[in-house]
């Protein structure tokens, strides 16, 4: 499904975004590498109206002069949801986007229904998690199965530029203590996804989140590194779509194990 690229003027400046599909609105907040239109997004767009805003400074877009923090970025994401997604909706955030989604749920809880945190950044215990030394090391940390990468790739300079925006928004080296302190007040039903081979965001990060969020489920996706969407799209979709469609009922096995039903 081909996403359409659009722009919307917001209070701090213009914001680019992609939209695809029809149905209940669903907002996806992209990782530090920028927007990568994966098979997971393609499949989500078959059931939802999927909005993917491009955060200012990413993917060649200009930064907004007044937005210089994660809290400020969460305010901008909230404004986008109000203006474009039509108000309260389910929100997915991947890595950096998961960190942003958590800030959004803390700052503008009325705009978030179900929350999905895909290998969320921002909560690494000190000394845990690997930091890539160079682009090749980064690729190894991101993908256990790089052969599954979609064919389109961003120019290396744009990838580097995207990651350069992390410092602009005050991305923490370890844990964002201010946000961590606010997590117990986030009462959204939350699904946390983590790849069993993710060495960038350590399991201690998601365990910490799981222990602090009052209504969260943690699901490990086997044989996936940091980029679950690329490594194991089918497994991720099985859990994710069930959660978005059935809420707590995603815990129930709704299928049949009968191989030869009569």
């Amino acid at each position: 499904m081909q996403p359409q690229a659009r722009k919307v003027p917001l209070s701090s400046g213009e914001l680019g975004y992609y939209v695809a599909g029809e149905g209940r609105p669903l907002v996806y907040l992209h990782p530090a590498g920028g927007v990568r239109w994966t098979r997971v997004l393609d499949e989500l767009a078959k059931s939802f109206k999927l909005f993917v805003p491009i955060m200012p400074g990413f993917d060649g877009t200009p930064a907004h002069a007044s937005v210089k923090s994660m809290k400020g970025l969460a305010g901008l994401a909230g404004e986008f949801i109000e203006k474009i997604a039509g108000g309260t909706c389910d929100v997915i955030g991947c890595s950096f986007g998961g960190y942003l989604a958590t800030w959004l749920a803390a700052e503008r809880p009325q705009l978030v229904d179900h929350l999905v945190l895909e290998c969320p950044a921002g909560f690494r215990p000190k000394g845990k998690g690997e930091r890539p030394a160079d682009p090749e090391a980064l690729k190894k940390l991101l993908f256990l199965h790089p052969e599954k990468l979609p064919p389109e790739t961003k120019p290396a300079e744009q990838e580097a530029g995207n990651r350069g925006m992390l410092a602009h928004y005050g991305y923490p080296a370890d844990t964002d203590e201010e946000l961590l302190a606010r997590i117990p007040a986030i009462d959204k039903l939350t699904l946390i996804l983590h790849g069993t081979a993710d060495r960038m965001i350590p399991k201690e990060s998601v365990q910490l989140l799981k222990s602090r969020l009052p209504h969260a489920y943690l699901v490990y996706i086997w044989d996936a590194a940091h980029s679950i969407e690329v490594d194991q799209p089918e497994r991720m979709l099985a859990v994710l779509t069930s959660f978005l469609e059935r809420s707590e009922g995603f815990m129930v096995n709704w299928g049949t194990l009968a191989v030869n039903p009569g």
């Binding site: 222990s211 943690l218 490990y220 194991q232 497994r235 815990m251």
Partner: protein, 374 residues
């Protein structure tokens, strides 16, 4: 050196004729089995007072080869009559079972024994896949995924879900959790280089329960050590378990006579149907990842039948003789392999239980004092 008293719990009342697989269970006599279970369990309990460090058993299906469809039940029977000895279940066949059930039952045993469980996570010999209708070609994948899931079930501080290829659980939170932290010590079978590497990756003790020959054992140990280093750890001698058929008697001649009789039943009756089924699995499936491993296993099956007892003793693949002879055999094998755990398979076919009992006492009085410090 640590010593493990390992019991296969065979059914010993069959006629000495070859049977196809599966063994027809019309030959099974529950009253005889009941007496065997009692004898075997009492023997395992007695092993503690004979100085053994572990008592062990394992899982087999559809065969008189071993009457432990669920060895955890035997672990439960051993938990309270013993006080010191480790209960080594070597082990549950994780690709065939529900991994969460394995994690739960092992955690129970660890709590019941006060933290004395040694947890074997085995792939199983080929014919077990026929019994439980699991594709043998999936054995490696299922083993790898199941072991990781079991470790998660034991160690995760919060409820979690698992979305894998072969196993899916939306929420897992086992009660009880193991007493040993972070989890009971693992044993993973390592009878070829591939499995040795996997054992090293999982930081498990490598188990070679029936050694084919000393050079292949050395090669597996080399592969294991090398893989462990690549995963950032250095195994100790205690991480290497070597096992073999064992018979200790007053004299060499008596030990050889008894073991030869037991081996005849073992090879001709207990292994008969298994070998037929294993050949089918090996020829028709991808149970082994490569031809080399497959050929090695087939050759091992063939050699078992063709080698005489004397040849097996000479090759260092059985322990058999007077206490003094067995001490020398243990020293020789240890010098070759450098292992820290020696696993004695004591009930070889129809080897009489009173002979085994006497052998245990000889081990306690005349073998152990000579080899404990190896």
């Amino acid at each position: 050196m640590k010593f493990s008293f390992f019991h296969l719990m065979p059914y010993t009342h069959l006629d000495p004729e070859s049977h196809e697989w599966p063994f027809p269970n019309r030959y099974f006599d529950a009253a005889k089995a009941s007496a065997l279970y009692r004898t075997y369990v009492e023997s395992m309990i007695h092993a503690e007072s004979c100085g053994f460090d572990w008592v062990g058993c394992n899982e087999h299906h559809f065969s008189p080869y071993g009457m432990m469809a669920n060895p955890n039940l035997i672990g439960g029977a051993l938990a309270y009559p013993t006080k010191r000895v480790k209960i080594a279940i070597v082990g549950n066949l994780v690709p065939l079972n529900n991994p969460i059930r394995v994690a739960e039952e092992y955690a129970m045993l660890d709590c019941m024994t006060g933290g004395r469980l040694v947890a074997g996570l085995m792939r199983g010999i080929p014919h077990e896949y026929l019994a439980y209708n699991i594709p043998p070609g999936e054995s490696w994948e299922r083993q790898r995924e199941a072991v990781q899931l079991i470790l998660k079930a034991w160690t995760e501080p919060e409820p979690f879900g698992w979305e894998g290829k072969h196993f899916q659980y939306r929420q897992v939170s086992i009660w009880p959790k193991p007493m040993q932290k972070p989890h009971p010590p693992l044993v993973i079978s390592a009878s070829n280089a591939d499995s040795a590497k996997f054992a090293a990756e999982m930081r498990a003790t490598m188990g070679m329960v029936l050694l084919a020959d000393l050079p292949s054992g050395k090669e597996c140990i080399r592969a294991y050590r090398e893989a462990a280093r690549s995963h950032g750890w250095e195994p100790t001698a205690d991480n290497i378990l070597v096992g073999m058929h064992t018979c200790i008697a007053e004299t060499d001649a008596e030990a050889r006579r008894q073991l030869a009789n037991g081996l005849k039943y073992f090879d001709e009756v207990l292994m008969g149907g298994l070998q037929a089924s294993q050949r089918i699995v090996l020829q028709k499936t991808r149970y082994f990842e490569n031809e080399e491993s497959r050929d090695r296993w087939k050759s091992r099956l063939d050699k078992r039948k063709t080698l005489t007892l004397d040849e097996q003793i000479e090759r260092g693949t059985v322990l058999c003789g007077s206490p003094e002879t067995v001490v020398a055999q243990i020293r020789r094998i240890h010098a070759e392999l450098g292992h820290g755990v020696f696993n004695f398979t004591v009930k070889v076919g129809t080897l009489p239980d009173d002979v085994i009992r006497r052998g245990m006492e000889l081990f306690r009085d005349r073998v152990l004092p000579q080899v404990r410090d190896l």
